[in-house]
């Protein structure tokens, strides 16, 4: 009897589950934008702007239920574009068609990316914890030896979860007091207990002087969005520089960091943004109009080379640092729940020249996801 009902209902249940996930993703995105708009008293669009936005999406086969994202992006950047991509369309409808969920979050695991992208520059690892097992120099060790490996390392280090450390969650810089080893051993033991399992301890990246000057306390990274087209070519959709708050060890926009769009040639745009305000200089006083990402062409090259290693995901947001030698250094990559907000505030509509192509992919049925 069980198998009879199972055969009858499985397909419907799975379809129902997919629709529920889509619905949940959509409502989460709507909730996010409603909170933002409510907290900032965001002004409405003009009637003409609303009409343009609705019409743009209608002609591409989408129903634009609200213009909240257009309102917010216009309020922050000062510019209106009909083809801003709302996250309550991107996340439930487009993201799942471009990115294979079966390979997430497995392929995002920071412990795994050392293997996956082994030929690329990455922060040096001191200790991996993978499923509760400690690894030092690719060999399983006990907790004591993992702690000793951290203590041998005289400088500060970064500890973070290897899965879902989005928005800098639980990413910590730890500085040891090397004079009191016993106390530090206990401190590290307690720290490891907090992280439980699936975390990584890395050396702090010595960053490029140019990037460091923007804010010395954080690794100021580039968020690069790339798109893998059906013909196998990788295109950079948008690059945003993220600069940390003074005294913060991370550069996340959600933690009052700063975002600044990067032009095609690597120059910073004149204006940057931080929680609701436009600014023209970093907290350290450096004017953005005078800034340029060192070795930016290499950054683009590296991202393109990285992306073809993981074609399971066709739209990826990469976090790339620039090290002391001005070489790009891969930090992590993001697939699901990517933020379009950073890109669209600083650089305008996310998909640029590929807007129509990507919106078309979003309309394909699940069995026919090739354009």
């Amino acid at each position: 009897m069980y198998h009879f009902f199972k055969m009858l209902l499985t397909k419907r249940i799975l379809e129902g589950k997919q629709k529920l996930i889509q619905f949940n993703t959509k409502l989460n995105a709507k909730r996010k934008i409603k909170l933002i708009i409510a907290s900032r008293n965001t002004p409405r669009l003009t009637q003409e702007e609303e009409r343009l936005a609705h019409s743009f999406f209608k002609t591409r086969g989408y129903k634009l239920n609200n213009v909240h994202w257009h309102m917010h992006l216009k309020a922050v950047s000062g510019e209106f574009y009909a083809n801003y991509i709302p996250e309550d369309i991107y996340r439930p409808l487009i993201d799942p068609k471009l990115n294979q969920m079966t390979h997430w979050p497995a392929l995002i695991d920071k412990n795994l990316t050392y293997n996956l992208f082994s030929e690329f520059n990455q922060p040096k690892v001191i200790v991996h914890n993978i499923n509760g097992f400690y690894y030092v120099n690719n060999e399983i060790v006990d907790e004591y030896n993992a702690i000793m490996a951290c203590l041998k390392h005289k400088d500060s280090f970064i500890i973070k979860p290897t899965v879902e450390s989005g928005k800098g969650k639980l990413v910590q810089k730890v500085t040891l007091n090397t004079k009191n080893k016993k106390e530090e051993q206990i401190r590290l033991q307690k720290l490891f207990v907090v992280y439980k399992k699936d975390f990584i301890v890395q050396e702090v990246v010595s960053q490029s002087e140019t990037m460091k000057a923007l804010n010395p306390s954080s690794l100021n990274t580039l968020r690069v969005a790339s798109y893998l087209r059906q013909d196998g070519s990788v295109h950079i959709l948008s690059t945003v520089s993220r600069i940390g708050n003074p005294n913060s060890s991370t550069d996340n926009y959600s933690l009052e960091g700063i975002i600044c769009g990067i032009k095609e040639n690597g120059d910073f745009k004149d204006v940057a943004y931080t929680k609701g305000k436009k600014i023209q200089a970093s907290p350290s006083g450096i004017s953005f109009s005078a800034c340029s990402v060192p070795n930016y062409q290499s950054v683009k090259k590296v991202v393109k080379a990285l992306h073809i290693k993981v074609p399971y995901f066709r739209i990826i947001s990469w976090d790339i640092g620039i090290d002391i030698k001005d070489d790009p250094i891969f930090i992590e990559y993001n697939v699901y729940n990517q933020s379009l907000e950073l890109h669209q505030i600083t650089n305008g509509p996310m998909f640029g020249e590929f807007t129509d192509e990507i919106l078309r992919i979003g309309k394909l049925s699940n069995t026919r996801q090739s354009d």
Binding site: R31, Q100, H103, N115, L116, F133, E139, V163, G232, Y312
Partner: protein, 372 residues
């Protein structure tokens, strides 16, 4: 807060919990369906009352409820031996496997396109073309479908084509050659063969296997299924190994399509009995020789210790899975070669030729199965 988010906050825990139970229930019912098929139209004698009592008492003492003794009965029928600690599939799959193996990493880490990278320092079949999410790769570069087809056309070799995810039981694993632009699979052109597989598949050169293993059946790559366990100290232990020998004329060595399975002892020697589908051999499906006439008992697997060493080294690279079934071939140089590995829906029927699955680690693993 919207009504939806309020209700979501209230019910998510229950829904997720319910889903877990439904999945476990489904696995249990599927396992029972499988074993009941075996019993259908079979004259498998019941266990003795004291054997049933022993089996139930054993599991009860480990914190499990043994709802039936189907698997104990079946394995005893096949090999003549009763062991109370045979692990039934309807306990292993829903209760133990999910506690030992992290489902969020499945099937991603089993993707054969990925394993070539994951285990790159180990011997693996040579990849000619990969298709990953619809993109063709040759030598790690994206190429067109036409280029990929032409690359295959130019090589004078036999190939294996297989899906990179979920090719369990040899599903869609096919050997082929190319003659004048047409493959030996229904005379399809290479590009049309690609279209049949759609996406996420791999084309490899057929492994030239060890002469000793080829002698068992030349038409298939006869592999070892090695079950390893990564214990809490980080030590990898080999739990069980058996040899799979293909049916003559077949492309793969799966027992489900008529292959033979034979236990392997610690020294790499085959055991006396080979097991195949019911109705063959002595009627129970037990054979003493391969179809090529080789006596199984005492047949030496070449370089067997290297197989175990390789498995132990590989397992530490994927500690997300504590119990893994590896498929290992032996190539023409008698070097072990990784074919694939399995972490979910692993089969426990090897118990019929090798005895209880978990051996010295039975208590430890059963305890892990009960952890929250």
């Amino acid at each position: 807060m919207s009504i939806y988010h309020f209700l979501k906050g209230l019910f998510t825990g229950y829904v997720v919990n319910f889903q877990k139970r439904l999945v476990a229930f489904n696995l249990t019912m599927n396992a029972r369906k499988e074993i009941k098929q075996v019993f259908k139209n079979s004259d498998i004698p019941k266990l003795k009352p004291h054997e049933i009592k022993e089996a139930k008492a054993f599991f009860k003492s480990k914190g499990y409820k043994l709802n039936n003794t189907y698997w104990h009965r079946f394995y005893k029928y096949m090999n003549g031996e009763f062991h109370k600690d045979y692990i039934p599939l309807d306990i292993f799959r829903p209760l133990i496997e999910p506690k030992l193996n992290r489902k969020i990493y499945w099937p991603a880490l089993l993707d054969k396109n990925l394993t070539s990278n994951l285990f790159k320092e180990f011997n693996q079949p040579k990849t000619v073309i990969s298709n990953i999410n619809g993109f063709y790769y040759s030598d790690d570069k994206i190429v067109s479908g036409a280029f990929a087809a032409e690359k295959c056309n130019q090589q004078k070799t036999a190939f294996i084509i297989k899906p990179t995810v979920e090719s369990g039981r040899g599903r869609m694993v096919k050997k082929f050659t190319i003659d004048n632009g047409k493959t030996s699979i229904d005379n399809l052109k290479v590009i049309d063969l690609f279209k049949l597989y759609k996406k996420d598949f791999i084309i490899q050169k057929v492994v030239e296997q060890s002469t000793q293993l080829s002698a068992l059946n030349p038409s298939t790559l006869n592999t070892l299924r090695v079950v390893s366990y990564l214990n809490k100290e980080g030590v990898v232990c080999i739990l069980n190994t058996y040899m799979r020998i293909g049916k003559p004329g077949c492309d793969t060595d799966n027992v489900s399509i008529g292959g033979i399975a034979c236990g392997v002892d610690e020294d790499g020697l085959l055991q006396k009995n080979g097991y195949t589908k019911k109705g063959q051999g002595n009627g129970k499906g037990i054979l003493l020789k391969t179809p090529t006439g080789i006596v199984l008992e005492g047949y030496q697997i070449p370089n067997y210790s290297a197989v175990n060493e390789m498995v132990k080294e590989m397992h530490v690279l994927v500690p997300l899975f504590k119990i893994i079934s590896w498929d290992i071939g032996i190539d023409i140089n008698n070097t072990p070669i990784l074919v694939e590995y399995n972490t979910f829906y692993q089969n426990v029927d090897l118990q019929m030729f090798n005895g209880p699955l978990l051996r010295d680690y039975t208590d430890e693993i059963l305890a892990l199965g009960l952890e929250a």
